[in-house]
């Protein structure tokens, strides 16, 4: 399983810490995006193995970005994240094409790896 990651979140502080966390666990963070549209552009350009994708984005939500990334063909693995609980999204995470969900405060390389297995 590849280890390049695109981090998508509108809070710069979280992107910084997530980068450090993932790099400490051996991932290579190849890019960051702060909203849905630039996320799609960055994914097209950088072709990461994995996208860590916040649901609450300012322009289009993470679920729509997931759809767009998956429909574009052979796309990255997507892990959704949020300050909210997975339960707050009813069953939308399950119904989406993301591999799974990690609460932001639980983020670590192991948590992601367990979703990708």
């Amino acid at each position: 399983m590849g280890r390049t990651v695109l981090i998508v979140d509108d809070h710069a502080g979280f992107r910084r810490l997530a980068r450090r966390m993932l790099e400490a666990d051996g991932y290579a963070v190849v890019g960051e995006a702060a909203d849905g549209r630039s996320a799609l552009a960055a994914a097209r350009e950088l072709r990461p193995d994995l996208v860590l994708l916040d649901v609450q984005l300012p322009d289009i939500d993470g679920f729509r970005v997931t759809e767009a990334l998956v429909s574009a063909g052979e796309g990255p693995a997507i892990v959704l994240t949020s300050t909210r609980d997975e339960a707050d999204y009813a069953r939308r995470v399950e119904r989406s094409d993301a591999r799974g969900f990690v609460a932001k405060s639980e983020l670590s390389g192991d948590a992601i790896a367990s979703l990708l297995r």
Partner: protein, 514 residues
């Protein structure tokens, strides 16, 4: 010198004159002087006056008309007569009024009960006669006459005068009754004219008999334009005319009764220019002999309906402003404090990794810090959910009620929830109703099981929360339930609580959601 006043021609002449005066007289005030002249001249008296019992300031009797024969000079005596007020039994008119019998005084100047004696003496008046004016059941007043000479009482004259008293009394009574009827009629006409409501009266064929000024102004017709015309053509919109005519025909066929009578109805009226407007109408049958006649009382309720619509809109705005506010707070919580805490958690985990190599103490402290932060994050999340649950916005009522039920400390079951999404305000109200109901179950009911159901049918969302606890809940007592009732009322919904003591509690809310 004495004169007998019993000339038959004089009395018969007087009888004729009195009868004629009463037959052609309009009002008592017109008739009194004529009657006094008729009797006085026929019987040779010099002065006469009519006295009426004063209805305004009883009990007293006052002079209302007087006469003197041509050539007689008695100004002083007339002035006193016209200004004096006598009580029952007082003076000549007073005694006749009280006794109800005619009286004859030989010489008023020496009579012990004649207050005007001095003036009479100065005028040279001595003999006097008086008889009562009597109606069917009471004495209305008295008529008196005076003369210079001393006269002997004359039985025939007294009988005749008593009969005059009865005739005049009947006349006065009849005229007063007619006056009362006319005044009542004028009063009612004045009431109709002044009424702010439109009052329209029709006959059994639906033709206008009366159309008061308010109706003329409201509908835009002059009186001449409406008399005798069919009311349906004048004030009923074309689309409703046939129904109106059929209703009237049914009512008349049923003898003037029907379920349209005597209730407030909201319908549409039409002005002379064809424009239509909402009216409140009450129709009654009026009680007169013959075929039925109906009166309609109408009021233009355009303003009232507009005010009601504005009130409803303003309540809805208030509730939705509240909901907006809560969504904003939840977003602020999410974007603000929660983000910081998330960042702090990640930072602490990272720091822990670094320290793993360095020291146990440091690791322990960090673990505690991480627990604190995770705890704060969870608390904030719960707070945000209480203010506005994001699961409700994201997933709708089903998942949101599910989360309430599973988070409830007392065992609770969700029996039914709507599949489809409903309007935001409806879903919010339903969610908070169940949340409040479950809070009360946990706090007061001492229950072992609660059940929740939310079902949409016929355009109404029906919510029911029941528990098997101790009952006895008072829906008026808690401000939580009152606030809920207000929020539901703003959506035209209702809230009802049944809580017999010892038998559990059922809360039912109904919200229109078509």
């Amino acid at each position: 010198m004495h004169t007998r006043a019993h000339d038959s021609p004089g009395l018969i002449g007087a009888e004729h004159s009195v009868a004629r005066s009463l037959a052609y007289g309009e009002r008592p005030d017109d008739v009194y002087p004529r009657v006094l002249a008729a009797i006085g001249e026929a019987l040779g008296w010099l002065l006469g006056s009519v006295w009426e019992a004063d209805r305004a300031r009883s009990p007293s009797i006052v002079c209302v008309a007087s006469w003197q024969a041509p050539g007689v000079e008695a100004t002083d005596f007339r002035e006193i007569t016209e200004s004096i007020r006598l009580g029952p039994g007082e003076g000549l008119p007073g005694r006749v009024w009280s006794s109800g019998e005619p009286a004859w005084i030989d010489d008023v100047t020496t009579d012990p009960n004649f207050p005007r004696a001095a003036a009479a003496k100065r005028a040279g008046l001595h003999a006097a006669v008086a008889f009562p004016i009597r109606s069917r059941d009471r004495i209305l007043g008295a008529i008196e006459f005076f003369s210079e000479e001393h006269r002997e009482p004359d039985e025939r004259a007294l009988e005749t005068m008593a009969s005059f008293g009865a005739q005049i009394g009947q006349f006065v009574e009849r005229r007063r009754a007619e006056e009362a009827v006319r005044e009542a009629g004028e009063l009612k006409r004045a009431m109709l004219d002044a009424a702010l409501d439109c009052i329209i009266t029709i006959d059994h064929r639906g033709r206008v008999i009366d159309f008061n000024p308010a109706a003329q102004a409201t509908f835009g017709y002059g009186v001449a334009e409406v008399a005798g015309r069919e009311m349906a053509e004048l004030v009923v919109p074309p689309s409703l005319r046939d129904r109106h005519r059929a209703g009237l025909a049914r009512c008349v066929a049923a003898g003037g009764t029907g379920d349209l009578l005597d209730r407030r109805i909201e319908i549409t009226g039409m002005r002379a220019d064809g424009s239509e407007f909402p009216v409140e109408l009450t129709i009654t049958r009026i009680d007169v002999p013959g075929p039925p006649k109906f009166t309609g009382y109408l009021r233009d309720i355009t303003d009232r309906l507009a005010a009601e619509a504005e009130l409803k809109a303003s309540r809805a705005r208030i509730v939705s402003a509240g909901d907006e506010e809560r969504r904003r707070i939840e977003r602020d919580l999410h974007d603000g404090a929660q983000q910081r805490l998330v960042a702090a958690t990640l930072g602490l985990r990272l720091a822990r990794r670094k320290l793993e190599q360095d020291g146990d103490e440091g690791l322990r402290l960090l673990d505690e810090a991480i627990d604190d932060v995770v705890g704060a994050t969870n608390e904030l999340r719960e707070l945000a959910r209480g203010i506005h649950p994001s699961v409700l916005t994201e997933g709708g009522l089903g998942p949101a009620l599910d989360s309430l039920v599973s988070g409830c400390p007392v065992a609770a079951e969700l029996i039914a929830a709507p599949e489809d999404r409903l309007a935001q305000g409806v879903e919010s109200a339903a969610y908070f109703t169940v949340a409040e109901a479950l809070t009360n179950v946990v706090r007061y009911a001492e229950a072992s099981l609660a059940t929740v159901s939310a079902v949409v049918s016929d355009g109404v969302l029906a919510i029911e929360v029941t528990d098997d606890g101790c009952g006895g809940a008072d829906p008026a007592a808690g401000s939580g339930l009152r606030g809920l009732a207000d929020r539901l009322a703003a959506l035209e919904g209702t809230l009802a609580v049944q809580s017999p003591a010892g038998a559990g509690t059922t809360l039912r809310a109904r919200i229109p959601c078509a």
